[in-house]
Protein backbone atom coordinates (compact mmCIF):
# COMPACT_ATOMS: atom_id res chain seq x y z
CA UNK A 1 0.00 0.00 0.00
CA UNK A 2 2.79 2.45 0.94
CA UNK A 3 4.57 1.63 -2.24
CA UNK A 4 1.43 2.60 -4.12
CA UNK A 5 1.25 5.90 -2.20
CA UNK A 6 4.86 6.65 -3.11
CA UNK A 7 4.19 5.83 -6.74
CA UNK A 8 1.25 8.22 -6.83
CA UNK A 9 3.37 10.89 -5.16
CA UNK A 10 6.19 10.68 -7.70
CA UNK A 11 3.85 10.25 -10.63
CA UNK A 12 1.84 13.35 -9.76
CA UNK A 13 4.95 15.45 -9.10
CA UNK A 14 7.01 14.58 -12.17
CA UNK A 15 5.38 12.32 -14.74
CA UNK A 16 1.92 13.89 -14.63
CA UNK A 17 3.18 17.33 -13.66
CA UNK A 18 0.15 19.60 -13.79
CA UNK A 19 1.84 22.37 -15.73
CA UNK A 20 4.11 20.45 -18.07
CA UNK A 21 2.04 17.32 -18.77
CA UNK A 22 -1.59 18.27 -18.12
CA UNK A 23 -1.29 21.98 -19.05
CA UNK A 24 -3.41 23.14 -16.12
CA UNK A 25 -2.95 26.16 -13.87
CA UNK A 26 -1.23 28.15 -16.60
CA UNK A 27 -2.81 31.45 -15.52
CA UNK A 28 -1.07 31.46 -12.13
CA UNK A 29 2.00 29.84 -13.67
CA UNK A 30 2.57 32.76 -16.05
CA UNK A 31 1.28 35.32 -13.58
CA UNK A 32 3.57 34.78 -10.60
CA UNK A 33 6.75 33.51 -12.27
CA UNK A 34 7.99 36.97 -13.16
CA UNK A 35 9.82 37.07 -9.83
CA UNK A 36 11.43 34.33 -7.78
CA UNK A 37 10.09 35.78 -4.54
CA UNK A 38 6.43 35.58 -5.57
CA UNK A 39 6.94 32.10 -7.03
CA UNK A 40 8.28 30.77 -3.75
CA UNK A 41 5.44 32.40 -1.79
CA UNK A 42 2.92 30.93 -4.19
CA UNK A 43 4.55 27.47 -3.97
CA UNK A 44 4.21 27.31 -0.19
CA UNK A 45 0.62 28.54 -0.14
CA UNK A 46 -0.38 26.36 -3.05
CA UNK A 47 0.97 23.10 -1.63
CA UNK A 48 -0.60 23.71 1.78
CA UNK A 49 -4.01 24.64 0.40
CA UNK A 50 -3.85 21.68 -1.99
CA UNK A 51 -3.20 19.16 0.81
CA UNK A 52 -5.95 20.45 3.09
CA UNK A 53 -8.56 20.92 0.36
CA UNK A 54 -7.89 17.45 -1.08
CA UNK A 55 -8.32 15.86 2.36
CA UNK A 56 -11.50 17.82 3.10
CA UNK A 57 -12.96 16.98 -0.28
CA UNK A 58 -12.06 13.29 0.15
CA UNK A 59 -14.00 13.22 3.43
CA UNK A 60 -17.03 14.92 1.93
CA UNK A 61 -16.92 12.79 -1.21
CA UNK A 62 -16.65 9.47 0.59
CA UNK A 63 -18.93 10.16 3.56
CA UNK A 64 -21.59 12.41 1.98
CA UNK A 65 -21.59 12.15 -1.78
CA UNK A 66 -20.93 8.44 -2.35
CA UNK A 67 -23.60 7.17 0.10
CA UNK A 68 -26.25 9.42 -1.48
CA UNK A 69 -25.14 8.81 -5.10
CA UNK A 70 -24.31 12.47 -5.65
CA UNK A 71 -21.20 11.89 -7.77
CA UNK A 72 -22.54 14.17 -10.49
CA UNK A 73 -22.33 17.17 -8.11
CA UNK A 74 -18.55 16.82 -7.72
CA UNK A 75 -17.61 20.11 -9.42
CA UNK A 76 -20.20 22.21 -7.59
CA UNK A 77 -19.50 20.81 -4.14
CA UNK A 78 -15.70 20.71 -4.47
CA UNK A 79 -15.59 24.34 -5.58
CA UNK A 80 -17.82 25.28 -2.63
CA UNK A 81 -15.66 23.38 -0.15
CA UNK A 82 -12.45 24.95 -1.51
CA UNK A 83 -13.89 28.47 -1.50
CA UNK A 84 -15.24 28.13 2.04
CA UNK A 85 -12.00 26.61 3.35
CA UNK A 86 -9.76 29.22 1.69
CA UNK A 87 -11.96 32.05 2.95
CA UNK A 88 -11.83 30.65 6.49
CA UNK A 89 -8.05 30.16 6.25
CA UNK A 90 -7.72 33.76 5.07
CA UNK A 91 -9.66 35.10 8.07
CA UNK A 92 -7.89 32.89 10.61
CA UNK A 93 -4.44 33.65 9.22
CA UNK A 94 -5.08 37.40 9.38
CA UNK A 95 -5.75 37.10 13.11
CA UNK A 96 -3.32 34.39 14.19
CA UNK A 97 -0.31 35.10 11.95
CA UNK A 98 -0.50 38.61 10.46
CA UNK A 99 3.10 38.47 9.22
CA UNK A 100 2.37 35.29 7.26
CA UNK A 101 -0.88 36.83 6.02
CA UNK A 102 0.87 39.84 4.50
CA UNK A 103 3.46 37.60 2.86
CA UNK A 104 1.12 34.97 1.43
CA UNK A 105 -2.41 36.38 1.78
CA UNK A 106 -2.52 37.84 -1.71
CA UNK A 107 -2.00 34.38 -3.24
CA UNK A 108 -4.94 32.87 -1.34
CA UNK A 109 -7.44 34.90 -3.36
CA UNK A 110 -5.84 33.67 -6.58
CA UNK A 111 -6.00 30.05 -5.46
CA UNK A 112 -9.78 29.90 -4.82
CA UNK A 113 -10.64 29.55 -8.49
CA UNK A 114 -7.49 27.72 -9.58
CA UNK A 115 -8.07 24.71 -11.80
CA UNK A 116 -5.25 22.59 -10.33
CA UNK A 117 -6.75 22.89 -6.87
CA UNK A 118 -10.08 21.67 -8.29
CA UNK A 119 -8.51 19.04 -10.54
CA UNK A 120 -6.83 17.14 -7.69
CA UNK A 121 -10.03 16.27 -5.74
CA UNK A 122 -11.80 15.49 -9.04
CA UNK A 123 -9.04 13.08 -10.10
CA UNK A 124 -8.97 11.56 -6.61
CA UNK A 125 -12.70 10.94 -6.84
CA UNK A 126 -12.48 9.45 -10.33
CA UNK A 127 -9.63 7.10 -9.32
CA UNK A 128 -11.34 6.13 -6.03
CA UNK A 129 -8.14 6.80 -4.09
CA UNK A 130 -7.92 6.17 -0.35
CA UNK A 131 -7.29 9.09 2.02
CA UNK A 132 -3.52 8.53 2.07
CA UNK A 133 -3.38 8.11 -1.67
CA UNK A 134 -5.37 11.35 -2.08
CA UNK A 135 -2.98 13.17 0.24
CA UNK A 136 0.04 11.78 -1.63
CA UNK A 137 -1.55 12.97 -4.87
CA UNK A 138 -2.15 16.44 -3.37
CA UNK A 139 1.35 16.87 -1.95
CA UNK A 140 2.90 15.48 -5.12
CA UNK A 141 0.90 17.81 -7.34
CA UNK A 142 1.67 20.76 -5.07
CA UNK A 143 5.40 20.06 -5.12
CA UNK A 144 5.28 19.43 -8.87
CA UNK A 145 3.59 22.79 -9.35
CA UNK A 146 6.16 24.45 -7.05
CA UNK A 147 8.95 22.86 -9.08
CA UNK A 148 7.42 24.24 -12.26
CA UNK A 149 7.05 27.72 -10.75
CA UNK A 150 10.61 27.84 -9.46
CA UNK A 151 12.16 26.50 -12.68
CA UNK A 152 10.19 29.01 -14.72
CA UNK A 153 10.92 31.95 -12.39
CA UNK A 154 14.66 31.30 -12.43
CA UNK A 155 14.65 31.21 -16.23
CA UNK A 156 12.42 34.26 -16.63
CA UNK A 157 14.58 36.35 -14.32
CA UNK A 158 17.50 35.71 -16.67
CA UNK A 159 15.27 36.25 -19.68
CA UNK A 160 14.91 39.90 -18.65
CA UNK A 161 18.44 40.54 -19.88
CA UNK A 162 18.27 38.44 -23.03
CA UNK A 163 18.01 39.98 -26.47
CA UNK A 164 14.58 38.58 -27.37
CA UNK A 165 13.07 39.62 -30.73
CA UNK A 166 10.39 42.24 -30.26
CA UNK A 167 7.48 40.05 -31.32
CA UNK A 168 8.50 37.33 -28.84
CA UNK A 169 9.01 39.56 -25.80
CA UNK A 170 6.97 38.82 -22.69
CA UNK A 171 4.35 36.09 -22.81
CA UNK A 172 5.18 34.50 -26.21
CA UNK A 173 8.74 33.56 -25.27
CA UNK A 174 7.42 32.27 -21.93
CA UNK A 175 5.07 29.91 -23.76
CA UNK A 176 7.92 28.71 -25.98
CA UNK A 177 10.00 28.10 -22.85
CA UNK A 178 7.16 26.19 -21.19
CA UNK A 179 6.90 23.98 -24.26
CA UNK A 180 10.63 23.22 -24.11
CA UNK A 181 10.49 22.37 -20.40
CA UNK A 182 7.43 20.20 -21.08
CA UNK A 183 9.49 18.28 -23.67
CA UNK A 184 12.18 17.77 -21.04
CA UNK A 185 9.57 16.52 -18.55
CA UNK A 186 8.49 13.97 -21.14
CA UNK A 187 11.69 12.19 -20.19
CA UNK A 188 10.18 11.27 -16.81
CA UNK A 189 7.39 9.29 -18.45
CA UNK A 190 9.44 6.09 -18.61
CA UNK A 191 10.52 6.34 -14.98
CA UNK A 192 7.80 4.14 -13.49
CA UNK A 193 6.56 1.03 -15.25
CA UNK A 194 3.65 -0.81 -13.78
Amino acid sequence: MWQHVLTIFIASALINNFVFSRYLGLCIFFGVTKKMETSIGMSFTFTTVMLISASLNWLIYNYVMVPYHLGFLKIVIFIGVIAAFVQAADTIMKKVAPALYYKLGIYLALIVTNCVILAVPLLNADENYSLFESMAMAVGSGLGFSLALIIMASIREKLELADVPRSFQGLPISFVLTGLIALAFLGFSGMITL
Binding site: L70, G80, A88, T91, L161
Partner: protein
Protein backbone atom coordinates in the same frame (compact mmCIF):
# COMPACT_ATOMS: atom_id res chain seq x y z
CA UNK B 1 -44.51 46.51 -8.61
CA UNK B 2 -43.44 43.84 -6.09
CA UNK B 3 -46.62 41.85 -6.66
CA UNK B 4 -45.86 41.62 -10.36
CA UNK B 5 -42.32 40.46 -9.68
CA UNK B 6 -43.47 37.84 -7.19
CA UNK B 7 -46.13 36.51 -9.58
CA UNK B 8 -43.54 36.19 -12.36
CA UNK B 9 -41.24 34.33 -9.96
CA UNK B 10 -43.98 31.94 -8.90
CA UNK B 11 -44.94 31.27 -12.52
CA UNK B 12 -41.32 30.45 -13.43
CA UNK B 13 -40.94 28.20 -10.40
CA UNK B 14 -44.11 26.23 -11.08
CA UNK B 15 -43.08 25.86 -14.71
CA UNK B 16 -39.68 24.47 -13.67
CA UNK B 17 -41.28 22.18 -11.10
CA UNK B 18 -43.70 20.85 -13.73
CA UNK B 19 -40.81 19.97 -16.03
CA UNK B 20 -39.00 18.22 -13.18
CA UNK B 21 -42.19 16.47 -12.05
CA UNK B 22 -42.76 15.02 -15.54
CA UNK B 23 -39.31 13.47 -15.42
CA UNK B 24 -39.67 12.16 -11.88
CA UNK B 25 -40.70 8.65 -11.07
CA UNK B 26 -42.62 8.25 -7.81
CA UNK B 27 -40.47 6.93 -4.98
CA UNK B 28 -42.41 3.71 -4.68
CA UNK B 29 -42.12 2.83 -8.38
CA UNK B 30 -38.42 3.71 -8.57
CA UNK B 31 -37.32 0.83 -6.34
CA UNK B 32 -33.86 0.64 -7.91
CA UNK B 33 -35.16 0.02 -11.43
CA UNK B 34 -35.77 3.50 -12.71
CA UNK B 35 -36.40 3.72 -16.43
CA UNK B 36 -33.59 5.08 -18.57
CA UNK B 37 -33.62 8.87 -18.94
CA UNK B 38 -35.55 9.49 -15.75
CA UNK B 39 -34.24 10.70 -12.41
CA UNK B 40 -35.60 9.17 -9.21
CA UNK B 41 -37.44 11.74 -7.10
CA UNK B 42 -35.36 10.79 -4.09
CA UNK B 43 -32.18 11.97 -5.85
CA UNK B 44 -33.63 15.42 -6.42
CA UNK B 45 -34.67 15.76 -2.79
CA UNK B 46 -31.37 14.40 -1.48
CA UNK B 47 -29.45 16.74 -3.80
CA UNK B 48 -31.38 19.75 -2.61
CA UNK B 49 -31.03 18.76 1.05
CA UNK B 50 -27.30 17.97 0.81
CA UNK B 51 -26.46 21.15 -1.11
CA UNK B 52 -28.56 23.30 1.21
CA UNK B 53 -27.06 21.52 4.21
CA UNK B 54 -23.50 22.05 3.01
CA UNK B 55 -24.32 25.68 2.27
CA UNK B 56 -25.68 26.19 5.78
CA UNK B 57 -22.71 24.39 7.38
CA UNK B 58 -20.17 26.46 5.40
CA UNK B 59 -22.09 29.66 6.03
CA UNK B 60 -22.32 29.09 9.76
CA UNK B 61 -18.68 27.98 9.95
CA UNK B 62 -17.52 31.08 8.10
CA UNK B 63 -19.71 33.30 10.28
CA UNK B 64 -18.24 31.72 13.42
CA UNK B 65 -14.69 32.08 12.06
CA UNK B 66 -15.32 35.70 11.09
CA UNK B 67 -16.72 36.50 14.54
CA UNK B 68 -14.09 34.53 16.47
CA UNK B 69 -11.07 35.78 14.54
CA UNK B 70 -12.18 39.33 13.92
CA UNK B 71 -9.27 41.73 13.40
CA UNK B 72 -9.96 45.25 14.52
CA UNK B 73 -8.74 47.61 11.83
CA UNK B 74 -8.31 51.20 12.92
CA UNK B 75 -10.67 53.23 10.69
CA UNK B 76 -7.88 55.81 10.48
CA UNK B 77 -5.68 53.29 8.64
CA UNK B 78 -8.33 52.90 5.97
CA UNK B 79 -8.72 56.68 5.71
CA UNK B 80 -4.97 57.19 5.33
CA UNK B 81 -4.76 54.41 2.75
CA UNK B 82 -7.45 56.11 0.67
CA UNK B 83 -5.55 59.38 0.87
CA UNK B 84 -2.30 57.85 -0.32
CA UNK B 85 -1.66 57.70 -4.09
CA UNK B 86 -1.62 53.89 -4.10
CA UNK B 87 1.43 53.62 -6.34
CA UNK B 88 3.14 51.22 -3.86
CA UNK B 89 6.47 52.73 -4.94
CA UNK B 90 8.14 52.16 -1.57
CA UNK B 91 9.70 55.62 -1.38
CA UNK B 92 8.42 55.89 2.21
CA UNK B 93 10.53 52.89 3.21
CA UNK B 94 7.52 50.70 4.09
CA UNK B 95 6.09 47.73 2.21
CA UNK B 96 3.56 49.49 0.01
CA UNK B 97 0.96 52.14 0.77
CA UNK B 98 -0.90 49.88 3.24
CA UNK B 99 2.30 49.34 5.22
CA UNK B 100 2.88 53.06 5.52
CA UNK B 101 -0.77 53.73 6.42
CA UNK B 102 -0.53 51.26 9.31
CA UNK B 103 2.83 52.58 10.46
CA UNK B 104 1.83 56.24 10.37
CA UNK B 105 -1.36 55.58 12.35
CA UNK B 106 0.10 53.05 14.78
CA UNK B 107 3.56 54.43 15.40
CA UNK B 108 3.82 57.97 16.81
CA UNK B 109 7.42 58.30 15.58
CA UNK B 110 6.56 57.86 11.90
CA UNK B 111 6.30 61.25 10.23
CA UNK B 112 3.39 62.23 7.97
CA UNK B 113 5.48 63.55 5.10
CA UNK B 114 7.18 60.28 4.11
CA UNK B 115 5.03 59.81 1.01
CA UNK B 116 7.10 61.30 -1.81
CA UNK B 117 4.49 60.98 -4.59
CA UNK B 118 1.78 62.53 -2.39
CA UNK B 119 3.87 65.62 -1.63
CA UNK B 120 2.62 68.29 0.80
CA UNK B 121 -1.08 67.87 0.00
CA UNK B 122 -1.16 64.24 1.17
CA UNK B 123 1.04 65.02 4.18
CA UNK B 124 -1.46 67.63 5.33
CA UNK B 125 -4.39 65.24 4.94
CA UNK B 126 -2.56 62.51 6.86
CA UNK B 127 -1.73 65.04 9.55
CA UNK B 128 -5.43 65.88 9.88
CA UNK B 129 -6.42 62.19 10.11
CA UNK B 130 -3.69 61.16 12.56
CA UNK B 131 -3.56 64.37 14.55
CA UNK B 132 0.18 64.67 13.95
CA UNK B 133 1.99 67.82 13.00
CA UNK B 134 2.79 68.33 9.33
CA UNK B 135 6.29 69.66 8.89
CA UNK B 136 7.13 71.83 5.95
CA UNK B 137 9.26 69.78 3.63
CA UNK B 138 11.27 71.21 0.82
CA UNK B 139 9.97 69.41 -2.29
CA UNK B 140 12.60 67.34 -4.06
CA UNK B 141 13.05 66.31 -7.66
CA UNK B 142 15.35 63.96 -9.56
CA UNK B 143 18.11 65.80 -11.43
CA UNK B 144 20.27 64.38 -14.20
CA UNK B 145 23.95 65.19 -13.71
CA UNK B 146 25.06 64.83 -17.32
CA UNK B 147 24.44 66.87 -20.44
CA UNK B 148 26.70 64.90 -22.75
CA UNK B 149 24.21 63.42 -25.15
CA UNK B 150 25.22 61.40 -28.21
CA UNK B 151 26.02 64.48 -30.28
CA UNK B 152 28.18 66.19 -27.63
CA UNK B 153 30.20 63.26 -26.29
CA UNK B 154 32.56 60.60 -27.62
CA UNK B 155 32.09 56.83 -27.66
CA UNK B 156 34.99 54.48 -27.12
CA UNK B 157 33.47 51.53 -29.02
CA UNK B 158 30.25 50.52 -30.76
CA UNK B 159 27.91 48.72 -28.37
CA UNK B 160 25.41 46.34 -29.98
CA UNK B 161 24.16 44.47 -26.93
CA UNK B 162 20.89 44.74 -25.00
CA UNK B 163 19.63 48.32 -25.05
CA UNK B 164 19.72 48.71 -21.29
CA UNK B 165 22.17 50.64 -19.13
CA UNK B 166 22.57 47.85 -16.54
CA UNK B 167 23.55 45.48 -19.37
CA UNK B 168 25.71 48.03 -21.20
CA UNK B 169 27.70 48.85 -18.08
CA UNK B 170 28.86 45.22 -17.93
CA UNK B 171 30.75 45.72 -21.19
CA UNK B 172 33.85 47.59 -19.99
CA UNK B 173 31.77 50.14 -18.10
CA UNK B 174 29.67 51.12 -21.07
CA UNK B 175 30.46 52.53 -24.50
CA UNK B 176 30.75 56.16 -23.44
CA UNK B 177 34.26 57.59 -23.29
CA UNK B 178 33.38 59.49 -20.12
CA UNK B 179 33.07 56.93 -17.35
CA UNK B 180 30.88 59.26 -15.25
CA UNK B 181 28.27 60.08 -17.89
CA UNK B 182 24.79 58.94 -18.82
CA UNK B 183 24.81 55.88 -21.11
CA UNK B 184 21.43 56.85 -22.54
CA UNK B 185 19.77 53.44 -22.84
CA UNK B 186 16.77 54.52 -20.77
CA UNK B 187 16.90 52.22 -17.73
CA UNK B 188 15.71 55.14 -15.59
CA UNK B 189 12.79 55.76 -17.95
CA UNK B 190 11.65 52.15 -17.53
CA UNK B 191 12.18 52.28 -13.77
CA UNK B 192 10.00 55.36 -13.28
CA UNK B 193 6.58 54.28 -11.98
CA UNK B 194 5.04 57.65 -12.81
CA UNK B 195 6.11 58.07 -16.45
CA UNK B 196 8.02 61.23 -15.53
CA UNK B 197 11.15 60.40 -17.53
CA UNK B 198 11.42 60.59 -21.30
CA UNK B 199 14.54 60.14 -23.40
CA UNK B 200 15.51 63.12 -25.53
CA UNK B 201 16.57 62.82 -29.16
CA UNK B 202 20.13 63.07 -27.92
CA UNK B 203 19.67 60.04 -25.62
CA UNK B 204 19.51 61.91 -22.35
CA UNK B 205 16.74 61.51 -19.79
CA UNK B 206 14.41 64.48 -19.42
CA UNK B 207 12.57 64.68 -16.12
CA UNK B 208 9.08 66.13 -16.12
CA UNK B 209 8.90 68.22 -12.92
CA UNK B 210 5.10 67.95 -12.79
CA UNK B 211 5.16 64.15 -12.80
CA UNK B 212 8.37 63.51 -10.81
CA UNK B 213 7.61 62.61 -7.21
CA UNK B 214 11.21 62.12 -6.05
CA UNK B 215 10.53 58.49 -5.15
CA UNK B 216 14.13 57.62 -6.00
CA UNK B 217 13.46 54.60 -8.24
CA UNK B 218 15.55 56.09 -11.08
CA UNK B 219 18.38 56.94 -8.67
CA UNK B 220 18.56 53.28 -7.67
CA UNK B 221 18.20 52.05 -11.26
CA UNK B 222 21.01 54.14 -12.82
CA UNK B 223 24.24 52.10 -12.86
CA UNK B 224 26.31 55.26 -13.34
CA UNK B 225 24.75 57.22 -10.45
CA UNK B 226 24.01 60.03 -12.87
CA UNK B 227 20.65 60.85 -11.27
CA UNK B 228 20.41 62.38 -7.81
CA UNK B 229 17.55 63.72 -5.74
CA UNK B 230 17.90 67.46 -5.19
CA UNK B 231 15.84 70.25 -3.72
CA UNK B 232 13.48 71.62 -6.31
CA UNK B 233 14.13 75.27 -5.39
CA UNK B 234 17.90 74.92 -5.93
CA UNK B 235 17.53 75.14 -9.68
CA UNK B 236 21.14 75.84 -10.63
CA UNK B 237 23.08 72.61 -10.89
CA UNK B 238 26.56 71.64 -12.09
CA UNK B 239 25.31 69.05 -14.51
CA UNK B 240 28.43 66.89 -14.64
CA UNK B 241 29.95 64.18 -12.47
CA UNK B 242 33.30 63.85 -14.24
CA UNK B 243 36.33 63.73 -11.96
CA UNK B 244 38.72 63.53 -14.91
CA UNK B 245 41.27 66.28 -15.44
CA UNK B 246 40.07 69.20 -17.54
CA UNK B 247 42.10 68.22 -20.58
CA UNK B 248 40.68 64.68 -20.53
CA UNK B 249 37.12 65.96 -20.08
CA UNK B 250 37.51 68.18 -23.15
CA UNK B 251 38.57 65.22 -25.26
CA UNK B 252 35.56 63.16 -24.21
CA UNK B 253 32.71 65.64 -23.93
CA UNK B 254 31.88 69.18 -24.98
CA UNK B 255 29.75 70.06 -21.97
CA UNK B 256 31.78 68.56 -19.12
CA UNK B 257 33.13 70.40 -16.08
CA UNK B 258 36.82 71.08 -16.73
CA UNK B 259 37.41 72.44 -13.23
CA UNK B 260 38.65 75.79 -14.55
CA UNK B 261 37.45 77.57 -11.43
CA UNK B 262 35.71 80.46 -13.16
CA UNK B 263 32.45 79.68 -11.39
CA UNK B 264 34.27 79.58 -8.04
CA UNK B 265 35.55 83.13 -8.62
CA UNK B 266 32.22 84.31 -10.04
CA UNK B 267 30.00 83.10 -7.23
CA UNK B 268 29.01 86.09 -5.07
CA UNK B 269 28.30 83.94 -2.01
CA UNK B 270 31.28 81.53 -2.26
CA UNK B 271 28.98 78.57 -2.63
CA UNK B 272 31.09 76.74 -5.24
CA UNK B 273 34.18 74.72 -4.48
CA UNK B 274 36.46 72.55 -6.59
CA UNK B 275 36.86 68.99 -5.36
CA UNK B 276 38.53 66.18 -7.33
CA UNK B 277 38.53 68.16 -10.58
CA UNK B 278 34.82 68.88 -10.25
CA UNK B 279 32.99 72.02 -9.20
CA UNK B 280 30.46 71.42 -6.45
CA UNK B 281 27.69 73.82 -5.39
CA UNK B 282 26.95 74.03 -1.67
CA UNK B 283 23.16 74.28 -1.96
CA UNK B 284 22.89 75.59 1.56
CA UNK B 285 24.72 78.75 0.48
CA UNK B 286 23.57 78.98 -3.17
CA UNK B 287 21.14 81.83 -3.84
CA UNK B 288 20.29 80.54 -7.33
CA UNK B 289 21.45 83.80 -8.91
CA UNK B 290 22.55 82.09 -12.13
CA UNK B 291 25.77 84.07 -12.54
CA UNK B 292 27.89 80.93 -12.85
CA UNK B 293 25.57 79.60 -15.57
CA UNK B 294 26.43 82.59 -17.75
CA UNK B 295 30.16 82.40 -17.03
CA UNK B 296 30.82 78.67 -17.44
CA UNK B 297 32.96 78.23 -20.59
CA UNK B 298 31.69 74.70 -21.31
CA UNK B 299 28.04 75.30 -20.32
CA UNK B 300 28.36 72.50 -17.77
CA UNK B 301 26.21 74.42 -15.30
CA UNK B 302 22.50 74.10 -15.99
CA UNK B 303 19.79 76.54 -14.96
CA UNK B 304 16.45 74.79 -14.49
CA UNK B 305 14.54 78.09 -14.29
CA UNK B 306 13.24 78.48 -17.86
CA UNK B 307 12.54 82.23 -17.77
CA UNK B 308 14.10 84.27 -15.04
CA UNK B 309 12.32 87.27 -13.59
CA UNK B 310 14.06 90.62 -13.96
CA UNK B 311 14.57 93.51 -11.61
CA UNK B 312 12.33 96.55 -11.83
CA UNK B 313 12.82 99.70 -9.77
CA UNK B 314 9.68 101.39 -8.54
CA UNK B 315 10.41 105.09 -9.21
CA UNK B 316 7.97 106.19 -6.54
CA UNK B 317 9.93 104.39 -3.84
CA UNK B 318 13.49 104.84 -5.14
CA UNK B 319 15.34 107.59 -3.32
CA UNK B 320 18.65 107.14 -5.13
CA UNK B 321 20.67 105.07 -2.69
CA UNK B 322 23.27 103.41 -4.92
CA UNK B 323 23.51 100.08 -3.06
CA UNK B 324 21.81 98.28 -5.94
CA UNK B 325 24.22 99.75 -8.44
CA UNK B 326 27.21 98.54 -6.43
CA UNK B 327 25.80 95.11 -5.79
CA UNK B 328 24.77 94.39 -9.38
CA UNK B 329 27.25 91.86 -10.80
CA UNK B 330 26.56 92.76 -14.43
CA UNK B 331 26.40 96.56 -14.11
CA UNK B 332 22.79 96.66 -15.28
CA UNK B 333 21.73 99.39 -12.83
CA UNK B 334 22.72 102.97 -13.37
CA UNK B 335 21.73 106.38 -12.01
CA UNK B 336 23.12 109.31 -10.10
CA UNK B 337 23.03 109.43 -6.32
CA UNK B 338 19.71 110.73 -4.92
CA UNK B 339 18.05 110.29 -8.26
CA UNK B 340 15.86 107.51 -9.52
CA UNK B 341 17.96 104.54 -10.71
CA UNK B 342 17.17 102.51 -13.80
CA UNK B 343 17.69 98.88 -14.73
CA UNK B 344 19.03 98.05 -18.17
CA UNK B 345 16.76 95.11 -19.01
CA UNK B 346 19.08 93.84 -21.74
CA UNK B 347 21.88 93.46 -19.18
CA UNK B 348 19.85 92.22 -16.17
CA UNK B 349 20.24 88.45 -15.72
CA UNK B 350 17.61 88.18 -13.01
CA UNK B 351 19.97 87.07 -10.26
CA UNK B 352 17.86 88.86 -7.68
CA UNK B 353 20.79 90.15 -5.63
CA UNK B 354 19.73 93.80 -5.68
CA UNK B 355 16.17 93.37 -4.43
CA UNK B 356 16.92 92.33 -0.84
CA UNK B 357 19.65 94.99 -0.50
CA UNK B 358 17.44 97.99 -1.26
CA UNK B 359 16.58 99.70 2.07
CA UNK B 360 13.43 101.23 0.59
CA UNK B 361 12.26 97.92 -0.94
CA UNK B 362 11.93 99.70 -4.25
CA UNK B 363 13.08 96.76 -6.39
CA UNK B 364 10.68 94.04 -7.52
CA UNK B 365 11.63 90.85 -9.32
CA UNK B 366 9.05 90.55 -12.09
CA UNK B 367 8.57 87.57 -14.36
CA UNK B 368 9.40 88.82 -17.84
CA UNK B 369 6.48 86.94 -19.35
CA UNK B 370 3.88 88.45 -17.01
CA UNK B 371 3.19 91.51 -19.10
CA UNK B 372 0.90 93.32 -16.69
CA UNK B 373 3.46 93.92 -13.96
CA UNK B 374 6.08 94.96 -16.43
CA UNK B 375 3.82 97.45 -18.19
CA UNK B 376 2.92 99.05 -14.89
CA UNK B 377 6.55 99.66 -14.09
CA UNK B 378 7.47 100.84 -17.56
CA UNK B 379 4.61 103.31 -17.51
CA UNK B 380 5.61 104.54 -14.09
CA UNK B 381 9.19 105.07 -15.26
CA UNK B 382 8.04 106.91 -18.35
CA UNK B 383 5.78 109.19 -16.34
CA UNK B 384 8.72 110.08 -14.08
CA UNK B 385 10.87 110.91 -17.07
CA UNK B 386 8.15 113.04 -18.63
Amino acid sequence: MYEQLISILIQTLTHALNIVANKLVPLAEAGGSAAAGTVPASTVYVTLIVLAGLGVVFGVALAIVAARFVVKVDPKVEQVRETLPGANCGACGFAGCMGYAEAVVGNPDVAVHMCAPGKAAVAEKIAVITGKKAEKVEPKIARVFCQGGTSLSQRKFIYTGVKDCTAAVLAAGGDKSCEYGCLGYGTCMRACPFGAITMSGDNLPIINPDKCTACGKCVAACPKQVIELAQMSKAVVISCHSRDKGIDVKKKCQVGCIACGICVRTCPVDAIKLENNLARIDHGKCIVCGLCVKKCPTSAIYDYIPVRSKAFIDPAKCVGIDVCEKVCPVNAISGAVREVHRVDQSKCIGCGMCAPRCPKKAIDMVQASSGAGRQKHVKAQESVRA
